[in-house]
């Protein structure tokens, strides 16, 4: 049985569609009635301070946790009922480093390719092409342990793209990186949106990473407090900039925001 929601004429299936998502850890509420959609081929920033629920949301979208309340659909496929079909369309870069440090770059990527049923020549071709895209060509045989934080992130991005996903989820992908590495990774992802038409959900607490044309989704302590184009969110909150809007939405002093920025 297929669990696909088809769209009507003229209606485009959302890359990601969340409806009424709630989640708690025992008595601790992590997410409450969160609903938003992401269109294919767009860059959406999921903004929230630490503890806002970004990682929980990622764990639900990637089916690490079961969805107890609400529904999550990826290109129309329900994550709970057709997780395989949904997960085939998603590439994920987790906040925690997930490379196997004892293995080489190529071994790490081959392993991931096999987890998506890609093997042999096809896998080797994809790995070579993606290492090129993330500017890590010639590093195939290096141990993951020998890479810098930024290089590891690049490999993780290549890994997330190996199975040609249509939606890329990145959870705080630039945390702990220097400014140059952050800018490089962000530029790579934005270019992928432009050239490959991949939809991206970029979770961050760094307001500097938001650009004027982006869509933003703002979480505060598990609640969705704003969503839309940057200009819309700024206008609705009566702020002068997205930094100011984020500050107002989180009810914190501007100096607090300044501290969050590198």
């Amino acid at each position: 049985m297929q669990h696909v929601r088809t769209s009507g004429p003229g209606e485009e299936v959302a890359a990601l569609d969340l409806a009424g998502i709630s989640h708690s850890y025992g008595p601790k509420r992590a997410l409450h009635d969160v609903s938003f959609s992401i269109a294919p081929g767009t860059f959406t920033v999921l903004l929230g301070l630490n503890g806002a629920g970004k990682t929980t949301l990622f764990s639900l979208i990637s089916h690490l946790y079961g969805t107890r309340r609400g529904s999550i659909r990826i290109f129309g496929h329900d994550v709970s009922r057709a997780s395989g079909e949904a997960l085939r369309r998603v590439g994920i870069v987790f906040q925690a480093r997930t490379l196997d440090l004892d293995l080489s770059v190529h071994q790490n990527l081959s392993y991931h390719a096999s987890l998506h049923g890609i093997g042999g020549h096809q896998a080797r071709q994809r790995i070579a092409a993606l290492l090129d895209i993330v500017n890590m060509q010639g590093r195939q045989h290096d141990k993951a342990r020998s890479l810098s934080g930024g290089q590891m992130r690049r490999i993780e991005i290549a890994r997330a793209l190996l199975h040609r996903p249509s939606l890329l989820l990145l959870d705080e992908a630039t945390v702990g990186l220097d400014i140059q590495s952050r800018a490089g990774i962000l530029a790579t992802i934005r270019k992928l949106v432009e050239t490959e038409g991949i939809g991206v959900l970029w979770a961050t607490h760094l307001i500097d990473e938001v650009e004027d044309g982006d869509h933003v989704v703002v979480l505060r302590q598990g609640d969705l407090v704003a969503t839309g184009k940057v200009a819309d969110v700024v206008g609705t909150s009566g702020a002068s900039s997205i930094r100011d809007a984020f500050s107002r939405l989180n009810r914190i002093e501007t100096s607090g925001i300044a501290e969050m920025s590198p």
């Binding site: 503890g51 764990s59 079909e85 997960l87 987890l115 049923g117």
Partner: protein, 291 residues
Amino acid sequence: MSAPAMPAKVAALTPVKFEQFGLRHYLICLKGIVVRECLRFLHQRERFISSLVRPLVWLFIFAAGFRQVLGVSIIPPYKTYVLYEVYITPGLCGMILLFSGMQSSLSMVYDREMGNMRTLLVSPFPRWFLLISKMLAGVAVSIAQVYAFLIVAWFWGVKAPPLGYLTVLPALFLSGMMLCALGMLLSSMIKQLENFAGIMNFVIFPGYFASPALYPLWRIQEASPLLYKICLANPFTYAVELIRFAFYGQVEWLSLGVVAGCTLLFLAAAIIAYDPSRGLMTRKQDTGGNA
């Protein structure tokens, strides 16, 4: 809430049509998981050496000392008196499988803490298939360790019938599956790596010593009827006996039944425990993220 407008230039790219997964894809996935486990094992030489040294210490030192103290009467499958070293060899094979099974449980807890486990669990293949593949990978590594031990034991003069090295393979496989499934189930219950020490104290040591690995059950029965009953309730007892009889080309049917049954039970419980909608994993605060 409706989806934001989509750029016209990418409209043709989505939704993407994917080829259905067939047997070939499942085999690629299984191979990838097994190769990764083997590579990890080869890269961790200390793990290989310690897995080999542990049973060899028992064989070279413990067995040599106890040979004079502990007599082994003629009990099936043995048709003559056997040296104590010969008697404990199946138990030591079981010991390798037991430690290896728990090691794979430890590595799952470690992978979960470090985040590596997520890459496995977000694969689009069914969760049960991923977990069974992971178990098969663990068993493949365990069996390689057992044969490495048997080769050294052979040079030490502890020899099984030549055909026994082949007939023991299915018994090693099934026992390894049972212990890996148990390890997987335990890994779903352990929140942090630090808690793993409890597994040593509450699973590995009692499991090993309350079994016929080191001494025949009739001797245990003579010493303590209660301990004898505990041994009979211990699945590891049956794994050791299954291996012992298999070395001589025989099937101990009760052991086979218990080991097969426990394998299915532990596996089913592990699959449920790792199920995102029903299992224990969802109830835990995840690591590696903020909330």
